[in-house]
């Protein structure tokens, strides 16, 4: 690299604003070196500093008696009983996944796995939330193919089952897909590892892969919008090696079983810079790094490059000096690099040496404390007027079949059949079997339920409802298995916060998440913010994504045997829990049948959610329920069809009550609703009455046909074949598929 002069021009090209650069000059009292400028620019990037979001994230509920570590650590940690903890977080890898879908998605999975095992937890499940462009857009098939292969390629090789997720298509994601990956891990509560460094003089140890030039300034790329030049940023996308990560996982867990580790931090965004700075800052110590000892994959790397590289599968640790050799032996056994690259100091500074020269020397206090924080302007959000209920153009049967075969309503089996969902030998409910995935806690009777959800079209119309509804749907999906929801992780995907309308979306969504979390005692324990998800066209116009405040949730089943799935049983009565007012605004039916994205999203009612959910969970725990499914996209009839398809069993339904037209009743997306299948309908109805929960009879399970009065009679087989048709047709024969990556299969 030719040495560009360090000045305001270079600072701008590194993504620093002019006043931010002024602050850098103030802190340093001189012109920073190239390496120093690099460190400031990545630490103060939106991705690392949360400068636009921090003020608002502070308002989220983060406490509960079962929360062990909330936001601020590599992942959230909650008490699940028996001295065990669930460790989980979700993180985005959106920008890289458009440029290079396979590696973008793969390294997204790799990054979130590291966040979890850094804390001493063995990852037991992966989930994801994906948003792709319109299926007709030229890039969509390429992106879907690469992302699905990438997620599978990494998770399958790691031996961590991918047990759940969600996928939607919308034109706002044409050039800016969303790839959010979540990992859930299991640890002993007394063996949780944190990142705060301690012990002046203690060795700072680098383990894992060698450092290369890949991913330099990745964090900066993730903090800027996309334009037509973005594909030239391919070199900033990192390349994943799940095999090395598997070794790193096993080596770290083996080391963590000893008492050698004082603190540990994975090298994620902004690599060595952010891991070293975070460990030292949190521990209130200084850190000296000597880059001559950093394992390097390429020759003649400069300090700047090593500090900013985002090469994958690397960790930084502070070890007890007397245990260093023991640690070295473990990493040598796993054939991984192990190098002492520095020491902790009492200087309060990060000092970086290379070839005997000091390349950076920055006071850590100001680097953290004077990081920019923005209270970005917001505005009154313009919400669409309420929907005037439209007439039904096609009837229930045709409408249902159309929804089930649409991109957003179709079976996702084509995707999840490429993810190993059973490895680990604890998967109780695989994708499609229940509203949330269920994984048994090895060696106990417990199970963890987990899910990810978000309905961006609701948030586009009303960001507050969008944020709240995502939380409610997660909580409902956990509840529908019989689990007790414990905590959530959020992954907030929005466009540019510098646009007041977008900032308003963000602020409102966070309020919605916070209110819902408080109402349900469902705290946020970890999270990630991804901004600037927008595309600038050649004509200068900007396309913002539909806001996606994705929520991942974890719940616990004290007795995993009591969990229920959603498959329609051969007999029993079907009940609907919750009120149906007929909310068709922003519904899937409106979009798919009439091509309209209009109206207000369904109202959220926290009290009704809690009351109805607590009732459903209690009935499941009592053993009164054979199957349960929440009502969401596509409304009641889609929920029933999904149960029928999962159970390969039909049902006979009564027609809509008198006060609502058939299509409104069956396709409305009113919240706080569940369908129950039970052989004890009378007892359940009595209990509901006593609890003040609205429950009504829907019909009988059984047979091979989904039958609705004399309105509709469709064989379940036909539903299944329609439902399964979209993905194979869209993704085409394999001959047309893009190049297969050689390292992903096996």
């Amino acid at each position: 690299m030719t040495a560009a002069p360090v000045d305001i021009e270079l600072a701008r090209s590194f993504g620093l604003k002019d006043d931010e650069y002024e602050t850098v000059l103030c802190i340093m009292g001189r012109t920073p070196s190239l390496t120093e400028l690099g460190i400031f620019s990545v630490m103060w990037s939106e991705h690392c500093s949360y400068k636009s979001s921090r003020l608002h994230l502070k308002t989220l509920p983060i406490k509960a008696p079962w929360v062990i570590h909330g936001p601020g650590e590599n992942a959230g940690v909650i008490d699940i009983g028996d001295g065990l903890a669930a460790v989980f977080k979700m993180e985005s890898h959106n920008h890289p996944s458009f440029i290079e879908p396979y590696q973008g998605a793969a390294t997204g999975v790799g990054g979130i796995l590291r966040d979890v095992f850094t804390m001493g937890a063995r990852p037991i499940a992966n989930l994801n939330a994906l948003r792709f462009g319109d299926p007709s857009h030229k890039d969509t098939k390429r992106v879907v193919d690469g992302v699905v292969r990438g997620i599978g390629g990494y998770g399958n090789c790691m031996g961590v089952p991918t047990v759940g997720g969600e996928v939607n298509f919308h034109s706002s994601y044409n050039c800016n897909p969303l790839v959010n990956a979540m990992t859930v891990g299991l640890a002993r509560q007394d063996r949780i590892f944190l990142s705060a460094a301690a012990g002046v003089g203690n060795p700072v140890v680098y383990v894992g892969s060698k450092t290369g030039r890949d991913g330099i300034h990745g964090a900066t790329m993730s903090s800027a919008e996309f334009d037509s030049e973005s594909s030239s940023k391919r070199p900033t996308v990192q390349v994943g090696d799940p095999f090395t990560e598997k070794l790193l996982l096993e080596a770290c867990l083996e080391l963590m079983a000893t008492d050698a580790v004082i603190s540990i931090q994975d090298m994620g965004a902004a690599g060595l810079t952010s891991s070293a700075v975070e460990m030292a800052s949190k521990g209130g110590v200084g850190i000296d790094l000597d880059l001559d000892h950093v394992p390097q994959r390429e020759a003649n790397m400069q300090a700047y490059e090593m500090m900013l590289s985002e090469s994958q599968e690397r960790m930084l640790m502070v070890l007890r000096p007397d245990r260093t050799e023991e640690a070295r032996r473990i990493f040598e056994k796993w054939e991984l690099d192990f190098a002492i690259v520095g020491r902790l100091t009492d200087s309060g500074r990060i000092t970086v040496r290379h070839n005997g020269k000091v390349e950076a020397d920055i006071p850590l206090g100001p680097l953290a404390d004077e990081a920019p924080v923005y209270d970005r302007p917001t505005m009154e959000y313009e919400r669409p007027p309420a929907l005037v209920p439209p007439a039904d153009p096609c009837g229930i049967e045709k409408g249902l079949l159309q929804l089930l075969s649409s991109a957003n309503g179709a079976s996702r089996a084509w995707i999840w059949n490429q993810y190993d969902s059973g490895v680990g030998g604890q998967t109780v409910q695989r994708p499609g079997g229940a509203d949330a995935a269920i994984v048994r806690v090895e060696g106990t009777d417990r199970g963890l339920a987990m899910t990810t959800d978000c309905t961006p079209r609701y948030g586009q119309a009303d960001p507050y409802v969008g944020g709240a509804q995502a939380v409610l749907e997660v909580w409902r999906n956990l509840t529908a298995t019989g689990a007790r929801p414990l905590a959530m992780t959020d992954n907030l995907n929005f466009a540019s916060p510098e646009n007041p309308r977008i900032m308003t979306q963000f602020v409102e969504a966070v309020k919605g998440i916070g209110d819902a979390g408080r109402a349900l005692d469902f705290p946020v324990v970890s999270g990630n913010v991804s901004l600037y998800n927008e595309t600038r066209g050649d004509d200068g116009s900007v396309t913002a994504i539909q806001p996606a405040p994705v929520i991942g949730g974890v719940g616990v089943l004290d007795d995993v045997q009591k969990a229920v799935g959603l498959a329609m049983p051969q007999d029993g009565e079907l009940l609907l829990v919750g009120e149906t007012w007929g909310e068709l605004g922003q519904s899937m039916w409106l979009k798919e049948i009439l091509g309209r994205e209009e109206g207000a999203p369904p109202a959220v009612d926290f009290a009704a959610e809690r009351r109805n959910g607590d009732f459903v969970r209690e009935q499941i725990q009592k053993g009164a329920i054979q199957a349960c499914h929440d009502v969401s996209d596509g409304g009641l009839i889609v929920a029933l069809a999904e149960m029928a398809m999962a159970g390969n069993t039909g049902c006979t339904l009564d027609i809509a009550p008198d006060d609502l037209p058939e299509h409104i009743y069956w396709f409305a997306e009113d919240q706080a609703r569940y369908v129950l299948a039970t052989r004890q309908a009378d007892a359940v109805l009595d209990a509901a009455k006593a609890a003040g929960v609205p429950v009504r009879r829907l019909g009988q399970a059984g047979g091979e046909v989904l039958k609705l009065g004399d309105v509709m009679a469709v064989p379940v087989q036909q539903l299944r074949s329609q439902h399964a048709s979209f993905f194979p047709r869209f993704m085409g024969k394999e001959d047309d598929a893009p190049v297969v990556h050689l390292d992903e299969l096996s």
Binding site: R149, G152, G153, N156, C157, M158, G159, D241, P242, F243, T244, K246, L247, W334, E335, A413, W416, N417, Q418, Y419, D420, S421, G422, V423, G424, G425, Q426, T427, V428, R430, R440, E442, V560, Q561, E734, A737, V740, D743, E744, L745, S746
Partner: protein
């Protein structure tokens, strides 16, 4: 019965396998590190699934040359029992302890779904838990499961009753050309094979993942009960 499970760098179904043996025997097999050079004193060696050495050259190719495989070969030559599942099957073919090879799935995508298998092998502890012709369900999780061998080798395997398992429909129909039945495109729908002495068995699907009702069923149990009954 003493069972050892080999762990290569990148192996990832060793815990699943250990759990399945624990379910039937109450005993936990010992783990064997790939650099070990003997497997003395064992009755059964299991090569479990995973991505040994990242499968970076060819699936199973590097593992086949690791120190422990020399010991496993000696063990088999002396009549020891060896089971290879998924990556383990790939390693056994790469080590030429079983005939044939596992190519990339015909559809060129990783397959993670249940298949049905028909029990065909005879006179083997690996099939003795079932009746000849039984059909059972098992999860698949592989990218390279497309079994192939020269036609005369396939003829011989069939003639000697050494095709242990074949992909089939839930009703037991074998359909070589049907991508919904023989999903990875294996020659003659072969999912598992036996060595000449019937003491080495390799198969692609994962019976070890279906050994408890709570995990989706017990279709895979007979593999382990059959082994247990034979080896005590």
């Amino acid at each position: 019965m003493k069972t050892g499970i080999v762990v290569f760098p990148g192996t990832n179904r060793e815990r699943d396998m250990a759990q399945a043996f624990r379910v039937v025997s109450g005993k936990t097999p010992q783990m064997l590190w790939h650099q070990q050079d003997n497997v003395d004193g064992l009755d059964l060696v299991v090569l479990p699934g995973g991505f040994s050495f990242g499968d970076y050259l060819r699936s199973g190719a590097m593992a086949a040359h690791s120190p422990i495989m020399k010991a496993v070969r000696r063990f088999a030559e002396k009549g020891g029992y060896v089971l290879g599942v998924c990556n383990g099957f790939q390693i056994l073919t790469e080590a030429q302890m079983l005939p044939g090879a596992l190519l990339r799935n015909a559809g060129m995508r990783f397959l993670s779904q249940d298949c049905h298998l028909k029990v065909e092998g005879r006179d083997s502890i690996f099939t003795s838990g079932w009746n000849h012709g039984d059909v059972f369900r098992a999860p698949m999780a592989h990218g390279d499961g497309n079994y192939t061998a020269a036609p005369d080798v396939l003829d011989r395997l069939e003639g000697e009753g050494r095709v242990a398992f074949r992909y089939c429909t839930a009703e037991g129909h074998v359909k070589d050309g049907d991508e919904h039945v023989n999903m990875n495109g294996s020659a003659r729908s072969i999912a598992g094979v036996l060595s000449e002495n019937r003491r080495v068995c390799g198969l692609m699907p994962h019976p070890e993942n279906l050994t408890e009702e709570i995990l989706g069923g017990t279709d895979g149990l007979p593999l382990f009960t059959g082994i247990m009954e034979a080896l005590g």
